[in-house]
Amino acid sequence: MSALTFTGIRKTFDSNVALEHFDLDIKEGELISLLGPSGCGKTTVLRIAAGFEVADSGTVSVAGTDITHLSAHKRNMGMVFQSYSLFPNLTVELNVDYGLRTRKIARAERERRVKEILELVQLDAMASRYPHQLSGGQQQRVALARALAVQPRVLLLDEPLSALDAKVRASLRAEIRRIQTEVGITTLFVTHDQEEALGISDRVGVMSNGRLEQLATPLDVYRNPASAFVARFVGSMNELPGMVTEHGMVDIAGYKVATADGLSVDAGANVMLLVRPEDLAVTASTEIGLPGTVTASTFQGASTEISVRLDRLDRLVTSSMASAVAPVVAVGQRVGISVDARRAVWEPAQSSMNGP
């Protein structure tokens, strides 16, 4: 069942289009991340859901009920903000109690719920502290507790981890997922950090220029990007220019590779192939694949990353191989790069937005 649905949303700020034809359907209990670069419209989606912005056209509905024009304070959405949003004049306990009090819930019930939710975020010992007496991570946990205390229909998270340092971010990310799963609340999470999005989501929506480019599971978004933009934005990609020679074959500077389903362009067309580092293999022989010179080799434990400057293309490419099978190479060594283009994404050489 749909918990939160956006249909045909359009939103402009003056003459700038923030969202265009935006559709999204979030299922009950699901955690969806909206991922995209700054200014792609992801926070606008969240603010429209919360009722802080009103869409120019389109509808927002919660469990089938249209809430497009419902005031923010009547929507029953829980929100955690990017900047610390705790009320500085209230203690942790009173911050969490705030939403319950506005709902005129009986005192005993309020006290029980505050205690319960603070235990859930493991901050019950800090109930009487003021926000300035807490670390950034603790403040965001209180903000999460405050949002959850009112038992919202949907939890909205607006880059809640971006102000925290890397270590705290990683642990809080795991905690958000744990709590979300435990409570079973439908969650819309906005982030520009792909590691965050891929790490905790049921599905990831990649956004660009106010549009949803792809909505799929994290694995699908990574392995089968729907467009060149998604391919470039999620993970890293090597760009190899080539020419289509026959159905499904591309000539990269004299080295012919086979793509999975063929390319819907005529032979002779110039294309740009986008290939993941793990689909490039380094061999010690220059006779195999594209010859080049090693510029860097980084052992990363389970995998080894090798950067090679290709002779014929004068381009730097990076290969990521399992350390067990990666050749031991030195900087300056001559090697060959073989390309597995079966999962490659392509685009016409002059454009950057078309997919396979």
Binding site: R75, G78, G99
Partner: protein, 289 residues
């Protein structure tokens, strides 16, 4: 080898930053000297011609001040001025707080226009304002001009340059938008958000704005005199014409009392804010520095 670090003596500290310290000293003398002279004139029962170093510690007395307290108009004019101050503070906050918040949240582009409007009382002399407004109201709404409380709207306008800045600085010091959004997402309407979140977090700005307003009211003479109202400043002048020493004593009392009160509240607000870790905005100039 052991290195011994000794604290520099005060004289050395003064000479090390000689230029700034001399300027500070000159400024202190510039402000303090007239006040000390005022105090000597008001509180020493020595003829002006004899005031000098030799009489510095002679015949100090509260007499001039206590005499003024017994004047029949003292109590009523002081009460009226205090009432006007309270009324002006309330009306100012009632108008300015929502306006400043609205401008910050909904009309950020209008901020420079509002700032420009609030400095207009600096440019337009009070006499021009009162002459214009009184000229309009006398034939049309005489009851308004006749009431002592007709001074309140004038005082609100006069205090605008100070009060708006104090509130504006307070709003800039906190993330108003996020606090409002957080409050509303938790189910609070505008009234609850204002009462439970914004006013408590703007308390230092509200208090400093209130004191600046009160200070303007307790010192305003031109408008009250033009509209023939008997406020404390007009009484002080009238009394000074009768007893120059008593008038000076009253002026000194007003100055000391309002400064002490402002100081006390500043300490109170700072202490309270420190307990909560909140940002303190004591006055607009400080916050913008």
């Amino acid at each position: 080898m052991a290195i011994v670090v000794t604290g520099s003596r005060p004289a050395h500290r003064f000479t090390r930053r000689l230029g700034p310290n001399l300027i500070l000293l000159a400024a202190t003398v510039f402000f303090i000297a007239p006040l000390l002279s005022m105090a000597r004139f008001a509180l020493q029962s020595v003829p002006v011609i004899s005031l000098g170093w030799s009489t510095l510690f002679k015949r100090w007395s509260w007499g001039a001040m206590t005499e003024a307290f017994h004047e029949p108009m003292f109590g009523s004019t002081l009460t009226l001025s205090l009432k006007l101050a309270v009324g002006t503070v309330f009306l100012t906050l009632l108008l300015l707080l929502p306006t400043a918040l609205f401008v910050h949240l909904r009309l950020p582009r209008a901020r420079s226009l509002v700032e420009f409007l609030t400095v207009l009382p600096y440019v337009v002399p009070p006499i021009a304002i009162v002459a214009g407004v009184a000229g309009l109201f006398r034939p049309n709404a005489r009851w308004f001009v006749n009431s002592n409380y007709s001074l309140i709207p004038f005082y609100v306008v006069l205090a605008l340059p100070f009060t708006y800045r104090a509130i504006d600085a307070g709003i800039r010091a906190i993330d108003v938008r996020t606090l409002v959004d957080a409050s509303r997402s938790l189910g609070a309407g505008w009234a609850t958000t204002l009462r439970r979140v914004l006013i408590p977090n703007l308390s230092s700005a509200v208090v400093s704005s209130s004191f600046l307003t009160a200070a303007v009211v307790l010192g305003e003479f031109t408008i009250a005199n033009t509209l023939s109202k008997r406020t404390f400043p007009t009484f002080t002048l009238e009394y000074a014409q009768k007893s120059s020493q008593g008038g000076m004593a009253l002026a000194l009392l007003t100055l000391v009392a309002s400064t002490a009160l402002l100081g006390l509240f500043t300490v109170f607000i700072r202490r309270r804010a420190r307990q909560r870790g909140a940002v303190v905005v004591v006055n607009a100039a400080e916050s913008q520095a």
